[in-house]
């Protein structure tokens, strides 16, 4: 007689046999070398857009390289495999994610996406021999004695002075107001922005206004700020989801001045959420605009769109991390299992930047951190117009 227990046992046995059989039937793939690169970041919840653009960029690039036959590092050719972990923007989960990467023998991890997560994983990364590439700005992650973190983008304290200087000289900005979400990243970016604005002699008319990150209607938050009539409204560390809502609320309240941020954004999200009210919005991107990007970048965008249905402009910056890891390992194959070798290589590393018409992949950060612990990503300050970004000016970090 067939009982529930016997059915369950039969199912379990069949599953185990199936797995064993499939493992046995795949000698070709087992012989192929595989390079696992990790991702620990946020791919769910309100900030999912940040990590999702990261991980999708990595997956698209990895598929592309694998399609071309893999990556030759030293004498071996590797297929790239992306191992992902959603930390849900929770530092405790970020630690668990980094420990998982260590258990799987992974030495190179992209992420986390936010300050507290990046700070939380530092002890794990340093003790387990992992180089990680956060999208977080605290300087102590990148200055000595820290040495395992490499900043994956331009920090706001690097881009803000350049943007405010440009706007002061070219747009006559004199009065600036800041608004930030009440979370560590936006608040630290706001403080950096306020310091940069004051250093340039700009009058800061508002700097204490904050909002909970899950705010849906920004009219009450912005009402008192708009009354101060700033020339420039800075949305410090604003998430891509909140930017169109803030822009729309400010414009509907009658604000006619400039609006800017130092984070990367997505043109499609701005278009849907704010339409023409977003025209003139200033943000920072990577290989963002048709004016500077290469054919390789165009193909990357096409592949991303084909794989996921829609491109995300944040990937203009986030496309870089995987290429930096692979190119650095190519430059020094010993680094594949030894991060000390990786650290030696960053000081002298250089390779062509495939994503812009002219440029070099190199590690920077000497001025900001006293050591090369930052990816050189083009600092393209863009202005949104009619559903797309236009280049305002291009800067560089040393």
């Amino acid at each position: 007689m067939t009982t529930r227990r016997s059915v369950l046992m039969g199912t379990a046995l069949a599953a185990v046999s199936g797995l064993a059989l499939s493992a046995g039937l795949a000698p070709a793939t087992a012989a192929e070398k595989e390079l696992n690169i990790g991702f620990v970041g946020v791919t769910s919840g309100p900030a999912a857009a940040w990590g999702t653009s990261n991980v999708r960029s990595m997956q698209v690039r990895a598929d592309w390289l694998n399609e071309l036959g893999g990556v030759k590092i030293g004498d071996d050719t590797y297929k790239i495999n992306i191992v992902t972990f959603d930390d849900q923007k929770d530092p405790k989960r970020a630690i668990a994610g980094m420990e998982k990467m260590a258990q799987e023998g992974i030495h190179y991890v992209v992420g986390p996406n936010v300050d507290d997560g990046a700070a939380a994983v530092r002890p794990v990364a340093e003790s387990k021999g992992i180089i990680y590439f956060p999208y977080a700005f605290p300087k102590e992650l990148y200055t000595k004695p820290a040495s395992n973190a490499v900043l994956g983008m331009i920090a706001n304290y690097q881009s803000a002075p350049a943007i405010y200087k440009y706007l002061k000289e070219n747009k006559g900005v004199k009065k600036v107001a800041f608004i930030a979400a009440n979370e560590s990243d936006p608040l630290s970016q706001r403080d950096g922005g306020v310091a940069a604005a004051k250093a340039l002699g700009l009058e800061v008319v508002a700097q204490n206004d904050t909002y909970p990150n899950d705010t849906r209607d920004f009219t009450p938050v912005l009402t008192p700020i708009i009354r101060l009539k700033p020339d420039l409204l800075v949305l410090s560390g604003v998430s891509p989801g909140n930017a169109p809502l803030l822009i729309r609320a400010a414009r509907e309240l009658g604000y006619t001045g400039l609006i800017s941020t130092e984070t990367a954004h997505d043109a499609a999200v701005l278009k849907e959420g704010a339409g023409e009210l977003a025209d003139g919005f200033i943000s920072v991107g990577g290989a963002s605009t048709p004016a500077i990007r290469s054919k390789t970048m165009d193909e990357f965008i096409a592949r991303y769109t084909k794989k996921f249905g829609e491109y995300n402009d944040e990937s203009n910056t986030k496309v870089y991390a995987l290429d930096y890891i692979i190119e650095t390992l190519k430059a020094n194959p010993k680094a594949i299992n030894d991060v000390a070798e990786f650290k030696k290589t960053v000081d002298t590393f250089g390779a062509p930047n495939p994503y812009v018409k002219e440029g070099t992949l190199k590690y920077v950060g000497t001025t900001s951190f006293g050591q090369k612990r930052q990816l050189s990503v083009p600092m393209v300050v863009t202005q949104y117009k009619d559903g797309a970004f236009e280049t305002l000016f291009v800067g560089e970090v040393d």
Binding site: D209, Y211, P212, L253, E272
Partner: protein, 288 residues
């Protein structure tokens, strides 16, 4: 000051509408529906797809949001909550089930609609401007629709046969059953109606605030806050809670702005003090 009051009234109207469905489900079934925010989000995405993507009329999109969520609500009640309520001796089982549904819906919505913030074209353009007040016409319209819907819902609950049956259920489930009320049927209708309200408000507000897959949890928390202020399970309480919270936010953000983000800190402290004095909220018991 006129602007602050107008902002508060507008926020209050939308908050009250969000809280209505939650308190209805709690009143009928004693279930804290943690998935209420996710139902709101799903309603928003249905409207986004039909109005924003397919370009069909907004009214049709809103009706589809309502219908979709009513069906989802009915199915959730019939196949998930009903068996658990009947078979479980522990009340917290329904809370765990509601939390599980919330996580499941979060994941499904993320897979179906992606991670990006979404928005739709405005349903009405233009901004009302006077010396002391600035208010976009679409917000005025949404506020008026929200108030009209609240009034219609209350009239339906007060005067319709279904409404009377649901009120009887909320007052005393056993007595209602003994008087011939089909408990299963009206529980399902009530849950569907609660979910429908979440879907409609999601569809309505996508025209103002857009929607993204991760906002379900925060929406639920805010709705619980309103329900606790007004008194869990009381429709009038949820409406009062919504308007009180909207007004407190608007005034707090204006008066306390120099001190940073302390508005919600103050609201939570006041809520704790208030609940210690009136643990059942403003109205304190199911309607009747």
């Amino acid at each position: 000051m006129e602007q602050v009051i107008a902002n508060g009234l507008y926020l209050g109207a939308q908050y009250a509408l969000i809280a209505l469905g939650l308190t209805l489900i709690f009143a009928l079934m004693n279930v804290l529906n943690f998935a209420h925010g996710q139902m709101y989000v799903l309603g928003g995405f249905v409207t986004y797809t039909i109005y924003g993507q397919l370009g069909l009329p907004f009214v049709l999109a809103l009706a589809c949001s309502a219908l979709t969520l009513a069906i989802v609500g009915a199915l959730v009640e019939k196949f998930l909550f009903r068996p658990v309520i009947k078979r479980s001796a522990r009340e917290e089982s329904t809370m765990l089930l509601a939390a599980a549904i919330a996580f499941l819906m979060d994941a499904i919505i993320l897979i179906l609609f992606g991670e990006k913030q979404r928005g739709v074209p405005k349903i009405i353009n233009g901004v009302f401007v006077s010396d002391s007040l600035v208010m976009p016409y679409d917000r005025i319209l949404v506020g008026v629709i929200a108030i009209a819907m609240i009034a219609s819902f209350m009239a339906y609950m007060q005067y319709s046969r279904t409404g009377r049956a649901m009120r009887a259920l909320a007052q005393d489930r056993v007595a209602a059953q003994l008087m011939g009320v089909n408990v299963d049927r009206y529980s399902m209708i009530g849950f569907a109606l609660g979910a429908l309200l979440a879907g409609v408000v999601g569809g309505l507000l996508v025209t103002i605030t857009g929607v993204n897959s991760g906002i379900g949890g925060p929406i639920s928390i805010k709705a619980f806050l309103m329900v606790m202020i007004g008194g869990a399970g009381v429709v009038g309480g949820a409406i009062a809670g919504g308007f009180i919270l909207g007004m407190m936010e608007s005034v707090g953000l204006n008066v306390l702005r120099e001190f940073g983000d302390v508005t919600y800190l103050v609201i939570f402290v006041l809520l704790m003090v208030f609940l210690s004095l009136r643990p059942n909220g403003l109205m304190g018991k199911p309607w009747g």
